[in-house]
């Protein structure tokens, strides 16, 4: 058993994949905890789908593609906010309109680019953790460290803001800046995770480990820590599944993360379906 886990690590590409899996697992769960409690899961989805055109345009212009992707993600968040404040269109509809439009432009551009260059659209859509380069691992590490420092520095302010935005605003906290800051964190996180899970499925790594942890522990920082552990477990398992079964890494990671979630949904001591069943039907009849 142990051999199955250790044997592949003699290869350099597997060591890089392992590093990327650990970093992305932690980063996504921590940032995703904020999306979960602010009920912004769909915004995470919208931003991630919107990265593609930026990526393609940057490739065409010869700029760093991750930078291009980040800019597109931020632009989509701004555009969603603009449509929803300047017109009677509601936020969810604005998200649907913007992210599908960005996604379509991105797919069209990358398809055009793909004809002449060896760039594989599937790697951006579904992830290819086994193909991460040393530079990419370094960039993911830098983004992860910066984001974790920012969150650590503003933890108590962000907790107040997420729990009670009006109360935080009335206490004089800059809530509009916090909101914009969270969007930037989400865009950076999605960009950093693109190569491992792909833009279509990154939402899962953002939301699912955090949601699983939410079923298990009562405090926000615990949700982040347990979520990070589950995120790392999911992305590492996904990496091995990808290695042994030649699967795209995104779907493999998501299947593990989702499996863990359903286990928690069944067996969580407080919110688990079995615990509820016991409390409602079995415990009363034993009295």
């Amino acid at each position: 058993m142990l051999e199955i886990l250790i044997e592949p690590l003699q290869y350099g590409f597997m060591q890089r994949s392992l590093a990327a899996a650990v970093l992305v697992g932690i980063l996504c769960a921590v940032v995703g905890s904020y999306l979960l409690v602010r009920r912004l899961s769909l915004l995470g989805d919208a931003i991630s789908h919107s990265l593609l055109p930026g990526l393609a345009i940057a490739f065409i212009l010869g700029v760093n593609i991750y930078f291009g992707a980040f800019v597109a993600g931020i632009l989509s968040a701004i555009l969603i906010g603009w449509i929803h404040t300047r017109s009677p269109i509601k936020e969810d509809a604005a998200m649907g309109i913007v992210f599908s439009a960005f996604f379509a432009v991105g797919i069209a551009l990358i398809t055009l680019v793909q004809r002449e260059n060896k760039i594989d659209l599937n790697h951006f859509l579904f992830g290819n953790i086994l193909g991460v380069t040393a530079t990419e691992v370094r960039d993911i590490a830098i983004i992860t460290v910066l984001i974790l420092i920012a969150i650590l520095a503003l933890y108590k302010e962000l907790l107040f803001y997420c729990f009670d935005p009006l109360g935080a605003q009335a206490a004089g906290l800059p809530t509009a800046a916090f909101n914009a800051g969270l969007m930037i964190l989400v865009a950076l996180t999605v960009v950093a995770s693109m190569k491992t899970v792909g833009v279509i499925l990154v939402l899962s790594l953002l939301i699912t480990p955090a949601a699983t942890a939410y079923l298990l522990v009562p405090r926000f920082h615990q949700v982040m820590i347990v979520g990070a552990g589950l995120g790392v477990l999911s992305s590492m398992s996904g990496m091995y599944l990808s290695y042994y079964f030649n699967l795209p890494s995104g779907p493999a990671i998501v299947m593990v993360a989702s499996g863990l979630f359903f286990l928690a949904l069944l067996f969580s001591p407080e919110y688990g379906l079995l615990a509820r069943f016991y409390r409602h039907w079995v415990a009363p009849s034993l009295r």
Binding site: V37, F163, D164, L166, G167, A170, A171, G172, F220
Partner: protein
């Protein structure tokens, strides 16, 4: 700053710098709907002020506009400067419906939020902040529940935790939006007794309420609204048949007059 100050010294810390709140020509519009029109009044410090009016009268909007939480024209001064620029002096407790009660936070987490502003960026909560938060929790009778998840409490207990958070903020001006909705009698008694204590140390407390029952006798000043200011002043000045008819359109159960 970081030492532990005895409570008595803290409560009287700033008696000298307490000032009046002055609202002048406050207008609030949502799109094409005017929510509040030309509201003006002044309240002296040390008062418990009840903001009354029918549903949709703009009671919550008045509080939010005073604190700069919604766009408004006109001015709201605390002393001689805009209140919205002195939010460190304000503790605000929103309506219960504004809060996600399934949020992963314990009672202790919520009370400590009252110390976030005072602790300052990049600082951990000091021993003094923890002492003040613990003492506030004690005052509202919730110290024993400090490690429970906020969602496991009753409505009354949740409201008392928010009161503790407001106390921990050590504010001069307190704003409570519908604090009595969905709470038990014990909580209502605790809330009013603490409001009274705060007022007696010169704090100004605004309470949005809609219950015209006997509890109205607890307020020093009433503000009666129906999108515009109907009346402001003592109970006997405000609770007249004429005012109540203008605010409620004649459908009011006139228990209020006895309380006055």
């Amino acid at each position: 700053m970081d030492g532990i100050t005895p409570p008595s010294a803290r409560w009287h810390r700033s008696l000298t710098d307490q000032a009046a709140v002055t609202v002048r020509h406050l207008d609030v519009s949502y799109g094409s709907v005017q929510a509040l029109r030309d509201i003006s009044f002044t309240v002296a410090p040390g008062q418990l002020i009840g903001i009354f009016g029918p549903n949709g009268a703009g009671k919550s909007t008045l509080i939010k506009a005073m604190l700069g939480l919604v766009p408004a024209s006109g001015s709201v001064l605390y002393g001689d400067r805009p209140l919205a620029e002195q939010l460190a002096q304000v503790a605000y407790v929103p309506q219960r419906s504004q809060i996600d009660w399934t949020f992963p936070a314990t009672v202790w987490d919520v009370v400590l939020m009252g110390r976030v502003r005072q602790a300052g960026y990049l600082h951990r909560f000091s021993a003094r902040s923890r002492y003040i938060a613990a003492e506030a929790l004690e005052r509202v009778g919730m110290a024993a529940h400090r490690n429970r998840r906020i969602g496991q409490l009753s409505g009354g207990q949740q409201q008392r935790v928010f009161l503790a958070r407001a106390i921990a903020q050590e504010a001069e001006i307190f704003c409570f939006d519908e604090p009595f909705v969905g709470v038990d009698q014990k909580t209502e008694t605790i809330l009013f007794s603490i409001f009274r204590e705060l007022a007696s140390t010169g704090k100004t407390i605004f309470v949005v309420n809609h219950d015209l029952g006997e509890s109205i006798a607890n307020f020093d000043q009433l503000v009666l609204l129906n999108r515009e200011l109907i009346a402001v002043g003592s109970r006997s000045q405000v609770l007249t048949l004429d005012h109540m008819t203008r605010a409620y359109g004649g459908y009011v159960n006139f228990y209020a007059q006895e309380a006055a």
